[in-house]
C-alpha cells in the first residue's frame, strides 16, 4: 500500500501523514465495525441523535483553526473561503439536528383498523428506519462541506446510520483532522467511535462500494469516477443505492429585456460566478446564453473586461489544473468556438487562467456537441449567442440535464414562462435573477438532477430531504403499542408530525 501524502497545490510541497493507504482487510474491518455501530445507533432516541449532531458541530468549531489551516495548505482555497465553509459545515450539522428533532423525516403514518370497501383492514403503522452503514466519498472542491464532515455524513448520521468515509486524496490531513474531531464528539456522547470511520486510497474506495455491510453510497465527484463506482454498486449480489452528485454544464440565459436593462452588472455577475473558487463548483454556469445584437454585445463586453482583469487562481491540485487546461484546449479546438478573453494564469504550482469563449447555436447543436457539453471543471465558460425565443428554446431543449438552470429576466418578461418550463424539465434547481454557485442548506433545497448531473434524479445531496437517501420504510401490522417504536405509539409520545387515518397532523412541539 502506498503512503498517504498531502500536497500543497500552491507550493507543490509534499507532506507525508505517516499512514499507509487502507487495504481490503482494513475496509472489511471498518465495514464490520460500522455494522455494529449502526446497530447501536439505531437503538438511540431521536433527541440523543440530535444532541450528537450538535456536539459534532461544536467539536468542529473548537478544532476550527487547525482544520482551516490544514485545508488551506492542501487546497489553496484561502482561509476566508474555508472559514466560511467551516461555518456552513457546522450550520449543516445543527440544521440536521433540527430535522431530527422535528421528526417529520420519519414520515410516520398511523392507520387505525377499519372496515374498508375491501373488508376489514388491520391497524397498520409505517415509518422510515435507518439503512445501516453508509459509504461516503469526499469531494475535492469542498474539503469540509462535501467531504468528511459534509452533508452526506451529517444526513446519514441524522438518519441513524454509521458512516465510513473514503478520504479525497487532495486533502488527507484535513480529512483526518475532521474525522478525529467528529469521533471525539461521538465518544463524548457515549457513542462508539466507529460511527465515523475513515479509509484512504483508490482501492479502498472500490472495496467500500463492494463491502457486504455497506448499505448505500454517497459520492460527489466526476462523471467518470461516479459512473464506474455506480456500476460496481449495481453489480453487487445485493445492489445498493448509489447517490452520485456528478456535476454538469449549467446553462444560464439572459433574455433580451434583461440584457437591455443591466448589461454591465450581468456581464460582471456571470464572470464572478464562473471564476468563484477558481471555477471549481459543480454549479458553475458553463453555457451562457446571450442574445445577439447591441444589448447582448454590451453584456459580452462587460464579461470580457471582467475576465481579462480576473486574477486566476491556484486549483485544487496540479492534476486538476492539467485536466482543466486539457478541457479548455479541447473546447477551443471546436470549429466555431472562439476564445474572447483569458486572464494571466495564477503564479503558483497549480495556477490556472480564467477563460471566456463564444459560439453560436448552430455550433452548440452541431457535430461537436458532446465536446461542448462535457463539463470542464475550472474557470471557463462558453457564451452562446442566440437569435430570438424559438432558437433559444430549441437549443435549450437539446441540452443534457443539469444541476441548475438560471434565467435572468425582467418583470413580465415574455421569455419568462417558457424558460421556467424548460428549466424545470431539465434541471434540479431553477434560478431567476441570481447565480447558481452557492447551494444553501435548507428545507427546500434540491441539489441534483437527471444524469449526467446525478446518478439518480430522485434524491438531493443537499438540504433536509437528503436524509431520505439513507432510510427505508417498515410497516407494523397490529403490533401491540408497547412493542412499537415510540414514534408510532398511539399516544405519539415524541409529538412528531404524523399522518393519522390519512390526515396529516403537524407536530405538537411548540414552534
Amino acid at each position: 500500500m502506498d503512503e498517504v501524502v498531502g500536497v500543497n497545490p500552491a507550493s507543490g510541497e509534499r507532506r507525508a501523514l505517516g499512514l499507509r493507504e487502507s487495504s481490503r482487510d482494513d475496509v472489511a474491518a471498518a465495514g464490520r465495525a460500522a455494522d455494529s455501530a449502526a446497530t447501536w445507533l439505531s437503538g438511540q432516541s431521536l433527541s440523543w441523535r440530535a444532541d450528537l449532531l450538535d456536539a459534532m458541530a461544536a467539536s468542529l468549531e473548537a478544532d476550527g483553526d487547525e482544520i482551516v489551516l490544514a485545508a488551506d495548505e492542501e487546497t489553496a482555497l484561502g482561509s476566508t473561503r474555508l472559514g466560511g465553509e467551516l461555518r456552513r459545515t457546522c450550520f449543516q450539522f445543527r440544521f440536521f439536528a433540527g430535522v431530527v428533532r422535528d421528526g417529520g423525516f420519519l414520515e410516520a403514518s398511523v392507520d387505525h383498523a377499519y372496515d374498508s370497501p375491501m373488508g376489514p383492514l388491520p391497524d397498520l403503522r409505517r415509518q422510515l428506519e435507518p439503512l445501516g452503514p453508509v459509504g461516503i466519498f469526499g469531494a475535492s472542491n469542498f474539503p469540509l462541506a462535501f467531504s468528511v464532515p459534509g452533508g452526506d455524513t451529517a444526513s446519514a448520521l441524522a438518519a441513524g446510520c454509521s458512516v465510513v468515509v473514503k478520504a479525497h486524496p487532495a486533502h488527507p490531513r484535513t480529512s483526518l483532522l475532521c474525522a478525529t474531531s467528529l469521533r471525539r464528539a461521538a465518544t463524548s456522547c457515549g457513542a462508539p467511535e466507529a460511527i465515523v470511520q475513515l479509509v484512504f486510497g483508490l482501492d479502498a474506495g472500490i472495496a467500500l462500494v463492494e463491502d457486504p455491510h455497506v448499505t448505500a453510497i454517497g459520492f460527489t465527484g466526476s462523471f467518470a469516477a461516479g459512473r464506474a463506482l455506480f456500476d460496481r454498486a449495481q453489480a453487487r449480489p445485493e445492489p445498493i443505492p448509489f447517490y452520485g452528485e456528478l456535476g454538469s454544464v449549467n446553462p444560464l440565459v439572459i433574455t433580451p429585456l434583461a440584457a437591455r436593462a443591466r448589461a454591465q452588472s450581468l456581464g460582471e455577475g456571470m464572470v464572478a460566478s464562473v471564476t468563484l473558487g477558481a471555477g471549481q463548483f459543480c454549479t458553475k454556469p458553463g453555457l451562457l446564453f446571450v442574445p445577439r445584437g447591441h444589448d447582448g454585445d454590451a453584456v459580452l463586453d462587460a464579461a470580457k473586461e471582467a475576465v481579462a482583469h480576473a486574477a486566476g487562481a491556484s486549483m485544487l491540485s496540479a492534476d486538476i489544473r492539467d485536466r482543466f487546461n486539457d478541457g479548455v484546449t479541447r473546447l477551443l479546438s471546436v470549429p466555431g468556438v472562439d476564445v474572447v478573453a483569458r486572464s494571466a494564469p495564477h503564479e503558483s504550482a497549480s495556477g490556472a487562467p480564467s477563460v471566456l469563449a463564444t459560439t453560436d447555436v448552430a455550433t452548440l447543436v452541431g457535430e461537436y456537441r458532446s465536446t461542448i457539453e462535457t463539463e470542464c471543471f475550472g474557470a471557463v465558460a462558453l457564451v452562446v449567442r442566440y437569435d430570438g425565443l424559438d432558437e433559444l428554446l430549441a437549443s435549450l431543449e437539446s441540452l443534457e440535464p443539469a444541476l441548475t438552470f438560471t434565467l435572468h429576466a425582467e418583470e413580465e418578461d415574455p421569455f419568462g414562462p417558457a424558460l421556467v418550463h424548460v428549466g424545470r424539465g431539465k434541471a434540479g434547481r431553477v434560478i431567476v435573477n441570481g447565480f447558481p454557485t452557492g447551494v444553501g442548506v435548507s428545507w427546500s433545497m434540491h441539489h441534483g438532477g437527471p444524469l449526467p448531473a446525478a446518478t439518480s434524479s430522485l434524491h438531493t445531496s443537499v438540504g433536509a430531504t437528503s436524509i431520505r437517501r439513507w432510510l427505508r420504510p417498515v410497516s407494523y401490522q397490529a403490533v401491540p403499542d408497547e412493542w412499537l417504536p415510540p414514534s408510532l405509539q398511539e399516544g405519539n409520545p415524541l409529538g412528531i408530525p404524523r399522518r393519522v387515518d390519512g390526515h396529516l397532523q403537524p407536530s405538537s412541539h411548540a414552534q
Copy 2:
C-alpha cells in the same frame, strides 16, 4: 414475431388474440408516444388527474363482468377471487385519486428569503414532479391488481406519468381488455390514448427497459427475471430506477405461549394462508417456526390435518405448476427435510397439490440453506421446529430479508419485543397475530424489503407512498409567483399541505 396466445390453465385450451408480439420498433413508437403523452399530462391540474383516476375506476367497473370472465379463463383463479380483485383494483384507483387531491405527495416546501447564519438566503421552493414515461411489467398472480390496471399503473398515473405496460404472457386477453377500458376512460377525460399503452412479448419487455424515453420501471415477478432486467436498466447510458418486487420466503413464528393458547386455530390459519390462491402470493408464509414439544406438536397436527384435506388447485399455468413441482422436489431432497402432509393434486391441466414439510434449525442454517431459502411459488411451506428463544433468534438472524415477518404471540409474551426487533431489521412489514397474505391499499402500507424481496428497499410497491417512485424534486429559487406551479405559489391556491419556513402546515381542505 410470435402470435399472442392465451391459454386456459384448467383446460389447456389455447386462444389466439389475432395479434403478434410487439417488435423493437413497436416499443420505440410506444416510447415516443408515451413521451408526448407525459408532456401533455404534466400540464394538467391535480384535480383533473384525480378525476381521471376516478373515471378509470368507473370504466373498469363497467367492463367488470367481461374482464373477470376473461381473467378466470386465463388464470383459473375463480370468479369470486377475481371479482374481489377487481373491486380492489377499482378501490386502488379511487384511493390514488384521494392521494392526488390531498396533495401531500408533492412534498411542497416554501422557504422565504431570510438572513441565515450563512448570510442572506434567497426565496426557495421545492416540490416533486413527474419523471416521465414509466414501463410496467404485469405479474402473473394478480391479473388485475398487480397487472395492467394495477398499483404500478395507478400510482404512476397519479404521479403524472404515462405508462407502457408489458403484458404478462399468462393473461394477454385480460391485459388487452383492461388497457382498452383504461384508454376509454382517458379519452373520455380528454387525455391522449397513449397515456396507457400495452406491449406483448419477452423481447418487447427488454426493449422497454432499454427505451430512451422510459424513465423508470415497475416490475412484479421472479427474482431471476427481475434481476436480469434490473441489470439492463442499470447498464443503460442513463440508468433508470428499477423497482422490482420479487418475492421472498416469508418467516412466520409461533411462540410457545401462542402454541399453548391456540394450537388448532394457528395450525389451520397457517395452512389457509399457505394455500390461499394455490400459494401464488409473494407474501405466502414459507418458513413456519413452531416450538418443539407438546404444544408445537398440536399446532403441527392441526396443520397436517388441514393440508391433507386441502383441495389443491389449478396453478396459473402449466409452466408455473412444473416449476412448483421442481421446487418441491428440490426442497424435499434436502437431508433433514421430511414431507409430513400432501393433498391430492387438483384435477386440471395445471393442477398441483398442497405440501407441508418439516425440518429443524440445524438443517435450516446448514449446507442446504440456499435451497431452503429459495422461494417456491405455490402451496408449500416448511415447518421449522425450534428450542427456545436463543435458537429461534439465531436462526432468524441468519435468514435473508423478506417482504413480511409474522409473529403469533400472547399478551406480554416474553418473546415479543425481541422478535419484533428482528422482524423490523429483516422485513418490510411486521405482522402480529395475523397472516401476511393480504396487502391492503392504504397510507401506511409498505410492500417491499431488502433484496431478495425487492431490488430497492427504499420504496413500496403498494400504498400511498408508492407514488414517490415516479417523482423527482425540483427547486425554484426566486422565481416570480406567476411563473411558479400553483402548488408552490405564495397564496397556496390548491390548499395542499406544505412545509413553510420549516414548519409543516396541514391541508386547508375540509377534512
